[in-house]
Symmetry: none
Subunit: 195 residues, 4 copies
C-alpha cells in the first residue's frame, strides 16, 4: 500500500470514528454529515471526498465493528478450550469491546431503520453469523455435558441482550470497572447455563 493510500485509509478511519461517535449520540437520522465533519475540523464536502454518501459512510461504520467482533469470536472458537471457557472468554471479549469501543459498538442494534437492500442484508447476515458462534459454543457445551439442557436460541438471546444492554447504562465514571463488569457478567451468565 502506497503512502498516499495509507494516508487516505487513515483519514477514512478518522471519519469512521467520528461518524460512530455522532451516530452513537444522535442516532442515524439525528447524525448529520455536518457534525460528523466538524468534529474533525473538516467540512461536509471533504467527507464526500472519502465516502459516497451518508448511507455508505454509516454502512462502513457498521462493517468495521462487525468485522472486529467476528474476528475476535472466531479466534476464541478456534482455541483448544472447553465450552465453558470459550463462553466465558466470548462474553468477556464482547463486553470489553462493547465498552472500549462504545460509540462504534452501540450502533449495531437497529440497522433496520437505517439501511435497505443489499447493505441491510449484508449486515443482518454478519450479525447472525456472529450470533451463531454463540450457538455453536452453547451446543458444544450441551453435547459435552458441561451445560444443562438449555434452549440454545433463547439462551443466546439472553446473553446477547444482557451484554448489549450495557451500552445503555455503562459509564466510565461508574462504580464498576470494565473488568469487574465483564467478570460478573460471565459468572452470572455461566451460572445460568452450567449444570
Amino acid at each position: 500500500m502506497s503512502l498516499r493510500e495509507k494516508k487516505i485509509e487513515k483519514k477514512k478511519q478518522e471519519i469512521l470514528r467520528s461518524a460512530a461517535e455522532v451516530l452513537y449520540e444522535k442516532g442515524y437520522h439525528g447524525a448529520t454529515m455536518e457534525e460528523i465533519a466538524s468534529r474533525l475540523l473538516m467540512t461536509k464536502g471533504s467527507v464526500y471526498y472519502y465516502f459516497k454518501n451518508k448511507e455508505d459512510l454509516l454502512y462502513q461504520v457498521h462493517m468495521v465493528i462487525i468485522d472486529i467482533s467476528l474476528q475476535t469470536i472466531e479466534e476464541i472458537m478456534a482455541r483448544d478450550q472447553s465450552p465453558t471457557e470459550k463462553l466465558r472468554d466470548a462474553i468477556v471479549s464482547h463486553i470489553e469491546l462493547a465498552i472500549s469501543e462504545k460509540p462504534m459498538f452501540a450502533i449495531i442494534d437497529n440497522p433496520d431503520q437505517t439501511f435497505s437492500g443489499e447493505h441491510l442484508q449484508e449486515i443482518v447476515k454478519l450479525r447472525s453469523k456472529y450470533a451463531h458462534c454463540f450457538d455453536d459454543i452453547l451446543k458444544e457445551g450441551v453435547e459435552k455435558g458441561e451445560f444443562s439442557k438449555i434452549d440454545i436460541k433463547l439462551t443466546r438471546m439472553i446473553i446477547l441482550g444482557a451484554m448489549n444492554w450495557i451500552q445503555q447504562w455503562y459509564s466510565p465514571d461508574g462504580e464498576r470497572s470494565k473488568e469487574e463488569i465483564a467478570q460478573t457478567f460471565s459468572e452470572s451468565l455461566l451460572k445460568m447455563v452450567l449444570k
Copy 2:
C-alpha cells in the same frame, strides 16, 4: 370528566397508539407527523390540536408505557409472595407486555437521543423507579436467603437487558410463543440468581 373530555381523551389515546406504531417502525426522526396522522385518516394539522408538538406527543407515548409498566410491577411487589415468585412474575409480566405492546414498548430504549431537559429527566426518573423495583425484589431475595450473593445492580441490568432485547428479535411468526419465551426466560434468569 365530561363527555367532551372523554372524547378528546380517547382521540389522544388513538394518536398515541398510532405514534407508537410509527415510532417503532421508523425511529424517532424517521417518524413523521404526516404518517402518524394519516394512519388514523387524520391530517397533520389535527394532531396539533391534541398535542403541542412532536416532542410532546412522543413524550406522552413514553409516559403511557412507563405508567403501565410501573403499575404492573408495583402491583406484583405488593403481593404476598416470595421474592422468587415475585421475580418470576415480574419477568413474565415484563415480557408479555413487551411483546403484546411491542410498538409502544420498543420505544423506551433510547430516550437520550430524543428528549431534552425536563422531559428527559422525568423519563429517566420513572425508568429508574421501575428498575429499582427489580432491585428491591432482588435485595429481598438475597436477604431472605433465597438468592445467592449477587451484585444487585449488575444482575438487574442483565435481567432488563435480556428482556428488552426481545424487541430486537421477537416475531409473532416465530417458533416460540409469547408464553414459552416468558417461561424460558424466567426459568433461566431465576437459575442465575437462585442459590
Copy 3:
C-alpha cells in the same frame, strides 16, 4: 370539480407557467425551484405542495404544451380540407402557438438531457405522434397529387426544424408580426412541397 380542486388546478397552472418561463430562460439545470417559486411570490416549499419534485414539475410542463399541440393538429387533420390547406393550417397553428406560448413551447426541444425512464418515453412518444400528423398530411398530399414526390420524413424534418427555430430569434419587438411570419413560413414551405 369542487371549488377547492379548481383552486388547486389554477395554482398548478400558475406554477407550470412560471416553470416554463424559467425553464425557457435558463434551461433545465439552470432552472431552480427557488426561482420558479419566487416569481410567484411563493417559497420553494410551497411548490412541493403541488408537485412531487422538479422532474415531475418539468415533466408536466412538457405535457401541457404537447397536449395542446396534439389537440390542435388533430383537429386540423379532421377537417374536410385539401392536404395543401391542412398543411398550411398546421404550419400557421404551430407557429402561432410557438410564438404566443413561447416559454412553454421552447422547452420541448431537448427532453433527453432532462428526463429518464418512463417520463422520457412518454414525451418521445407524444412528440413523435405529433410529428406523424405532419407525415400523414404530406402523404395524403403526395397521394392526391397535390405535392411532388418528396421524401416524407426529411420534408417533415425541414418543416418542424424551420418552425421550432423561430424560438431562437423571434422577439415581439421585431419587424414582423406573428401573422406575417406564419404567413411567409407557410407560403415558403408550401412552395417547397407543391408540384
Copy 4:
C-alpha cells in the same frame, strides 16, 4: 510556435473536443469538469491549467466551431459561382459539418443560457456574421433573378432552422446517409427559393 506551445495547443484541442462531447450529451449545467477531464484520463485540476474556468472552456468550444463554419462559408462565397450553386454548397457544407462534428456543432444553439457579458456578445456577433453570409447569397440570388422575391431574413431563418434541427434527429444508424440528407435538404430548400 515552439514545440512546447504546440504541445499545449494540442492538449487544448483535445480538451475542447472532450468538452464538446460532454456538453452535447449533458447540456451546459449537466456537463461537469470532472467528466470532461476524466474522458481524457486527466483530472479536473489539470483542465484548470489550460482553461481559466468552465465558462472560458465552453466559450472556446463555441469559438472553434463558429470559426470553422465561418471559414467554410466565406470560402464558398468567394467562389466564382452562381448564387444557386453557392446556396447549395453552403447548405451541403453546413449539414455535413453539423453531422460530422455533431457534438461540437450541437452546442451553439442556446448560448444565452450559458454565457453573459462579453462572451455572449462575441458569440452572437459571429453567429450573426455567419447568418448574414446566407443573407448575402440570397440577396445576390434575388438580384440576379435566380431566386424569386423572397423575404431574405425569414428565408434564411427557415434554412438555418431546418439545418440545425438535424441535430435533434440525426443518427449515424439511420436510413439516410449524411450525403443523402445534404442532397435532399439542398434540393428542397432550393426549390423553395428558386423562381
